[in-house]
Every structure is written in structure tokens, then in C-alpha cells.
Symmetry: C2
Subunit: 205 residues, 2 copies
DNA sequence: GAACAAAGTTGACACTGTCAAGATTGGGTC
DNA sequence: GACCCAATCTTGACAGTGTCAACTTTGTTC
């Protein structure tokens, strides 16, 4: 790898890194072909060799952010200790929702960017698996399983929006956590309502 | 009112009208100081006498859209026929949620614009009143009332996003309506779960 | 009628995304 | 080892944008 500016070698990756940093610092509007090129130290529209378009670049950044979000959820998921199977499945769902919201709050710019222009099919697939677990374990009736990822994802995503630029914007972290717990308990209750679950909802927080 | 271009008279309102039309046709990115001025037939940055800033203009448009959304919900609300009080209160809540989603789907650009930059405190207030009704009527326990607007608004808003640019994007209207019904029933069930309501959830659709 | 403030216009500047054409480089082939 | 080529980056240009400053027009008020 020479010092010459030509043939940077990893321009695409460097641009994506810079894009994540820019959105982290300045929000989604900080993303620009030229400003990114400046940040990487390359001349304007060098990026056009790697991205067709500003939209194309934004899409690529979104995919990267979505991967971060997914792995953050996955990490939390794996930390849930073994216990009574039903309780464990319910906790796995709750923990995933909490990870989602916490990512949104800690990285509002990246979250807005990713959710504005990309399909959320990956997180929905993960959610689907968790709900299947709830059915296998007998907590969620298979009839109520239909489209249940919609209510679950909607609730968690909507709560994130309220925290980022809604009325919950200036809530203290502790109060936000309390409100989030109420939302997660409501989801849990809504799924277990049909079976009259014996375990208290507060067990999942 | 003279024919002269000077002293347009209603420039502010004309600009807001044009803004709504532009976003309706071209999406949020169709909003621009200059393009709006062109649309109204006035020279560029005449808008600066009425709006400090592009952000200021966007905020004003958002408020206008939010008013449209609110009155759309209110209209549906008033159409719910008198019946058994509990059923009526539940239906009023469901109908409001449906109006919210239908507005989002029918005006995705305006919906995105308004929800991206404005607080949703007005709709939340309306929602709060509906939930108070559910408490008065004995369907929702007052203990579960705390922050219950969060779960409700979150679910409906999240569903809207899924319909606009999520995996539900290309769903046929009938299927979308069916999925929406399931979400609304889930909310209803989650609220009535603690009391063991005697009425079937399907009554509210 | 003169003075004044409000409303619109004109001109300029820096910035943006994007296209076209040229310069530079490393890898493969004879 | 020299040569060509394709990939990569640069330079230059164009239209479009938001915004500031200075100017012009207009309706109102004393």
C-alpha cells in the first residue's frame, strides 16, 4: 500500500466508517458525498466509484447500522440465564426489546437514519423466532401467534420514537427505564392473557 | 388586492398550502424554500419575511399536518354510535387508532414529515382522554392506566411505519386492514386482560 | 403629501449532488 | 521486462440549494 492518494485500497470501508461517525456527531443531515470525502481525505466524488448515488450510500450505512442493532440484541439475548423455560422465553423477548430501545436512545441519529430508509425485515425475523419460542413453551397460544410480531415490534419501535423526539425526550434515564418496563410488561401480559399465566408479569423485568 | 406582485396578501398561507401539496406529490424532500416560492409564483426567498428558516417552515407545515390528523381522528370518534358504555369506549379507542394508521398510509409523505420533526403531544392528549373513558367505564383498571398511552400510541404508530416503509409496504389493503384489526384487538385485550372482560374482542372491529 | 415600516425583489456567496473527461496506478499478458 | 487495460481517483463544470445583504415597491399613518 503506497502513500499515494490513488488506490486508497479500502475507500468503501473508510467511507462507511466516516459516515457512521458523521451521523453519530451531526445527525442524518451530516451525511453528504462531499463532506464524507473531505473527512476521509479524498477528493470529492471519489465515492462514486463505490456508490451509485447518495441514496445508495445511505442504504449501505443503514445496513451497517442494522447489523449493529441486531448484534446488540443478540448479545443481550445470550446473557439471559437458564431457568424455567417459559420464564426464560419471556425474559428473552423482554431483553431484546430493551436492547432495541436502548440502542435508539444512545444513537438517535443512526437509529433515525437506519429506520427511515431500510426495511426492518432482519430484526423482525429475530423477533419471529422469539415468539415461536413462546409458542413452543406454551405461553403464547398458536392462534394468537399470527402477526404477533407486529404488535410487539410496533410497541417497542414506537416507544423509541417517543423517547427520541416525542414527549419522552427529556425524561431522566431512570424514569424512562420505568416507563419502558411498563411497556414490556404490557406486551408480556397481552401475550399471556389468553392462558392465564401463573407467573407475575414483574418477573420479566 | 392589486395585481402587482408586491404585497401578495396571503403569502404565508399560500406557502403552507403549496408546501402541503409539494410534500403530497414529491415527499418530504420536495420541500424547499426556492421550489415553494416558484410554485407560488413569487421570487426566491420571499418566504424569509414569514419564516425564519427552512426548519421554521417545516415546523409550521408539521403543525398543519398534525391538525389534519387530529381532526381526522376526531371525526371518526364522533361517528361511533351510542351503545353499551364499555363497548362504546373500547370502540372509540379502536376507531381512533384506525384513523391514525389510515392517515399515515394515505399520506405517507406528510405523515413522515410531521412525525419527524414535531412533538406528538396533541394526539397523545386525545389518547389520554380516551383511556380515561376506559377507566371511568371500568374496563381499564386505574393501576394499569399509568403510561398506558405509551403502549397504545407506540403500537399504532409502529404499525404505521411498518405499513409505510417496512415489510408491510406492499400489502393489499384488505390484508393490511386484517393485520391492523389484530393489532387493535391485541391492545384491547391487553387493557381488558386484568378484569376478565365478558365481551369478545372481535366486537370492537 | 411625507415618512415609515412591512413585504418582495435582486444579487451574491458558499455549499450540495452529479456528470464528463482526464490523470494515475496496479495487475495481467505477450 | 515492457505493454496494455481496467479500476480507481482527480479535476472541472453545471444546476440546484439555503441564506445574507442591499435595494425597491407598497400601504398606512400623521
Amino acid at each position: 500500500m503506497s502513500d499515494s492518494t490513488y488506490h486508497h485500497g479500502h475507500l468503501r470501508e473508510a467511507l462507511l466508517d466516516a459516515a457512521v461517525a458523521a451521523v453519530h456527531e451531526e445527525g442524518p443531515s451530516g451525511l453528504g458525498i462531499r463532506s464524507l470525502a473531505r473527512r476521509v481525505g479524498v477528493s470529492h466524488n471519489a465515492a462514486y466509484r463505490h456508490f451509485a448515488d447518495l441514496d445508495d450510500l445511505v442504504t449501505a450505512v443503514s445496513e451497517r447500522v442494522m447489523e449493529q442493532l441486531l448484534s446488540a440484541m443478540q448479545a443481550r439475548l445470550d446473557e439471559v440465564p437458564a431457568s424455567e423455560p417459559t420464564l426464560r422465553a419471556r425474559r428473552r423477548l423482554a431483553v431484546t426489546g430493551r436492547a432495541y430501545v436502548e440502542y435508539a436512545v444512545s444513537e438517535p441519529g443512526l437509529f433515525r437514519l437506519a429506520l427511515g430508509s431500510l426495511s426492518v425485515s432482519e430484526p423482525l425475523r429475530l423477533l419471529g423466532r422469539l415468539l415461536d419460542e413462546l409458542v413452543e413453551v406454551g405461553f403464547l397460544e398458536s392462534e394468537a401467534r399470527v402477526d404477533s410480531e407486529l404488535t410487539c415490534w410496533s410497541a417497542v419501535h414506537g416507544f423509541s420514537i417517543l423517547c427520541i423526539d416525542g414527549p419522552l425526550r427529556h425524561l431522566a434515564p431512570a424514569e424512562r427505564a420505568a416507563a419502558l418496563n411498563r411497556v414490556l410488561v404490557a406486551i408480556d401480559r397481552s401475550y399471556g392473557a389468553t392462558t392465564g399465566s401463573p407467573t407475575s408479569p414483574s418477573d420479566i423485568t
